[in-house]
């Protein structure tokens, strides 16, 4: 018996899919912005921050990078209520994604910062820029430019990783696909559609972020 494909059964549920795409993109957008900012902050601490603050950040980075995302998510959603912190599935997802991306992007950005030529910093110092000014205007933009492709990939990994947020009833794209297949048992079609949408989302996100980086972060308009 050949499997008969019935995409119509899946596509008639398009409002669920649209909602799923909206949640996936929304979660990714918020966590990309906050996560990369967190990562930059952590990278600053690990390279130039005060000595007492470095072990704490190092511990955070190692803890997150060496545990599975789904465990972090479950800890926030199922674990924290035991301590009286009760977050909705959506907030739990955002926080887990920000914390996760923060740790990975900290290491990516740190790599970019550490490859800054010493002469560049010395030049900034000789122009009487403060340490903070040097970091924000002289060190960070070229550092980000160097690691931007890696950073964009990490953001896309986090976007694809958001698929597990459906496990705690966040209604993102995988949740939608799973819900559709559990209603009409068209598992194959539902996941083919979800796969195609994820592929398009990834390609579009990568293109957007590459353009965004060039245009706004290190496009050389700073004079």
């Amino acid at each position: 018996m050949a499997i008969e494909l019935d995409f119509a059964a899946v596509l008639t549920e398009w409002p669920l899919l649209v909602k799923g795409v909206a949640w996936t993109l929304g979660l990714t957008a918020v966590s990309a912005v906050l996560g990369v900012l967190l990562g930059i902050g952590c990278a600053w601490v690990r390279t130039q921050g005060p000595g007492w603050s470095r072990p704490g950040v190092a511990a955070y980075v190692e803890l997150i990078r060496n545990t599975p995302f789904i465990v972090q998510l479950f800890f926030i959603f199922f674990g924290l209520p035991a301590m009286g912190v009760r977050l909705s599935p959506e907030w739990s997802s955002v926080i887990a994604m920000v914390i996760n991306l923060g740790a990975y992007s900290a290491e990516i950005v740190r790599a970019g910062i550490q490859t800054t030529p010493a002469g560049q910093i010395e030049a900034a110092m000789s122009l009487a820029l403060s340490r903070m000014q040097t970091f924000i205007w002289v060190v960070l933009p070229p550092a980000l430019q160097r690691v931007w492709p890696a950073l964009v990939s990490q953001i896309i990994i986090v976007m694809l990783g958001s698929a597990v947020c459906g496990q705690i009833s966040t209604e993102e794209l995988s949740f939608a696909a799973n819900l559709i297949q559990s209603r009409n048992f068209r598992a194959f079609e539902a996941f083919i559609v979800a796969t195609a949408i994820y592929l398009l989302l990834s390609i579009a996100t990568r293109a957007t972020l590459n353009w965004f980086g060039q245009r706004f972060l290190f496009g050389g308009r700073r004079g």
Binding site: M1, P89, S182, R183, F185, F188, L199
Partner: protein, 264 residues
Amino acid sequence: MKLSKRLALSAAVAASLLTLAGASHAQAALDNIQKAKLIKIAIPTDFPPYGFVGIDLKPQGLDIDMANFIAAKMGVKIELMPVTSANRIAYLQTKKADLVISTLGKNAEREKVIDFTSAYSPFFQGIYGPKTISIKTMADLAGKTVAATRGALEDQELTKVAPAGTDIKRFEDNNATVSAFVAGQTQLLATGVSVAGVMMQKNPQLNTEYKLLLKDSPNFIGVAKGEDALRTKVNAIIAEGKKSGDIDKMAQKWLGRPAGQLPE
């Protein structure tokens, strides 16, 4: 252009996957089982006392006993495959499992895609919640959050009968659903009587009580659509088990009461 090349490649991969999936045969399940001397049965591990993982990390429960009973009567070895409510029917459709013995209730939607044997054990689903929340009718669910397992009968039933404004939170498996309720992430819980029983026993501090009946639905064994030879064989084994009292004994052991009258 780079982008279109990448898309074309992805499309090619997807197309080859589709072709691969097309090859399987009708009515071959029973022959294959007897030839391989092995039956693959999908069972729950998140649904005590029907199927759960014991302290020795091995699955046990009524459904597992039933699976072993059928394998023994057929004289073949058994491979147990743990599944969740959401993926158990897909296991059958893709022939990863020969039978699904996983607290599977029968309804019209499911009968379109798989076949069912006779019933082998009793079951009902209800809505549970703390004594402090008053739920007298389905209309009282409006504005409340209810945890349910995605794709389980209670999810389908609740989706049908719940009033507008009911916030149904759907989780991947029963463990997650119960955990969400116990952690206070939802106000109410829609689940099977057995799951609720264990939850209440382990969390007396929640003061949970039975609120409403969702559906009375005995469990059936699922077989892939059109596998009539296998279905007839399993039906004969169930009928034999009912007559010999083995099925009553299993219900007594795990549910504390005999199986009673079950539909064919």
